[in-house]
C-alpha cells in the first residue's frame, strides 16, 4: 500500500490516436454494434456498444468504455444493464493506494479495493484479454438462461 505521490509526475491525458486505432478495429467485428470516440459523457473515451443479439433478452444494454492514457495507464469499464440492476467490472492500470498499479475491480459491482493482477503492456493484448473475459461472461449468461 504505497501512496502514489511522486509517481509518474503530472496526470497523463487520453491518447486519442490509440483510441482511434482500437475504434476502427472493434467497429469491424460482428460482436460490436458501434464504437465511437466521444466526449458526450463529459470526458473523452472510446464507447463500445455490444450487439444485442449476443445477449439474452434480460440484458438491456451492454457497454465497454475505454480510456487509454499517454503514459500507458488505462481503464476498461464493462457494464451490463439488467432490469433493476447493473453488472459491472473494471480492468485498471494506474497508481493508487489500494492495489498494485495493475488491478481488477471484479463483478458484479466493481468494488474498491479490487484484486492485484498483472496486465500485458501492448494495448492490443489488453483489448484481447478483456474481450476474452467478456466472451466467457456471455457464455455464462446463456448457460444460466
Amino acid at each position: 500500500m504505497v501512496p502514489p505521490s511522486g509517481d509518474g509526475g503530472s496526470p497523463a491525458p487520453i491518447d486519442r490516436p490509440i483510441l482511434e486505432f482500437l475504434q476502427t478495429r472493434l467497429q469491424a467485428t460482428r460482436q460490436i454494434s458501434r464504437a465511437t470516440v466521444t466526449d458526450a459523457s463529459g470526458h473523452l473515451e472510446l464507447q463500445v456498444i455490444f450487439a444485442p443479439s449476443y445477449y439474452p433478452e434480460t440484458v438491456d444494454e451492454v457497454q465497454l468504455t475505454v480510456r487509454w492514457y499517454t503514459n500507458d495507464d488505462f481503464k476498461f469499464h464493462y457494464r451490463e444493464e439488467h432490469t433493476g440492476h447493473d453488472w459491472e467490472c473494471r480492468w485498471d492500470r494506474h497508481p493508487n493506494p489500494h492495489n498494485t498499479r495493475d488491478h481488477f475491480h471484479p463483478p458484479p459491482t466493481a468494488p474498491t479495493p479490487g484484486e492485484d493482477v498483472s496486465w500485458p503492456d501492448d494495448h492490443r493484448d489488453v483489448v484481447e484479454l478483456v474481450l476474452e473475459e467478456i466472451e466467457d461472461r456471455i457464455a455464462a449468461l446463456w448457460k444460466s438462461e
Binding site: S10, P11, T29, H43, D72, N96, D122, R124, E128, K143
Partner: protein, 177 residues
C-alpha cells in the same frame, strides 16, 4: 414449443486484430513506442522480421509518423507532433470557425469546473491522495480519472484553438491572395 435453444448461444467473437497486415501491426506498435527503440525490438513486438520493420519504419519516417535517431543502431519513436498536426488539420477541415470557437468555450467551462472542484490551477498541482481523503463522494480512482480528464480537456482546448487559428489564418491568406 420454442425452437430456440438457449444452449446454442451466439457465435464466437471475431478477432479485432486478425486482419491487420504487417504495416498495420508495426503502426500499432509505433503508437506505444514512446522512447527511442531499435528496429529489431519493434520487429519483435510487431511479430515480423527486422528487415521488414526497417522498410516500414523508413516509410513512416518519411511521412513523419516516427522520429528516427541516427544512433548505432538507429532508433525510432512515435512522433507526437505528427499526430497533433493530423488532428488539428482534421478539426479545421470538419468545423467552421464559429463551431471551433464554441468548442473552445465548452472546454474552458469544463476546465473551470475542475479548477473549482479541486481548488487548483492545473491537475499537476493536485495531491490526488489528499483530495480523495478530503472528499466524501470521490474515491482515489475517481480523482485520478478526473485529473487525467482535466489534463485531456486542456489539450483538447489547445487543439480546438489551433484549428481555429489555422482556419482564420487560411481565410486571411485567401482574402489577400
Amino acid at each position: 414449443m420454442s425452437k430456440t435453444d438457449p444452449e446454442d448461444g451466439p457465435p464466437p467473437f471475431e478477432d479485432a486484430f486478425a486482419s491487420d497486415d504487417v504495416e498495420q501491426r508495426i503502426y500499432g506498435t509505433i503508437l506505444q513506442t514512446r522512447e527511442p527503440t531499435t528496429a529489431s525490438a519493434i520487429a519483435d513486438a510487431a511479430d515480423c522480421d527486422p528487415k521488414t520493420a526497417r522498410k516500414y519504419l523508413g516509410w513512416f519516417d518519411d511521412l513523419g509518423i516516427v522520429t528516427r535517431h541516427d544512433s548505432h543502431p538507429a532508433t525510432y519513436e512515435r512522433n507526437d507532433a505528427y499526430f497533433e498536426w493530423r488532428r488539428i488539420n482534421q478539426l479545421a477541415g470538419d468545423h467552421s470557425v464559429e463551431e471551433l470557437q464554441e468548442l473552445v468555450r465548452e472546454m474552458t467551462t469544463r476546465i473551470a469546473e475542475y479548477e473549482d472542484t479541486y481548488d487548483a490551477a492545473s491537475p499537476a498541482a493536485v495531491d490526488a491522495v489528499a483530495a480523495a481523503e478530503a472528499s466524501d463522494e470521490r474515491t482515489i480512482d475517481d480523482v485520478y480519472s478526473d485529473l487525467a480528464d482535466w489534463a485531456t480537456a486542456r489539450e483538447e482546448r489547445e487543439r480546438y484553438e489551433r484549428a481555429r487559428q489555422q482556419r482564420t489564418g487560411g481565410k486571411r491568406e485567401q482574402a489577400s491572395g
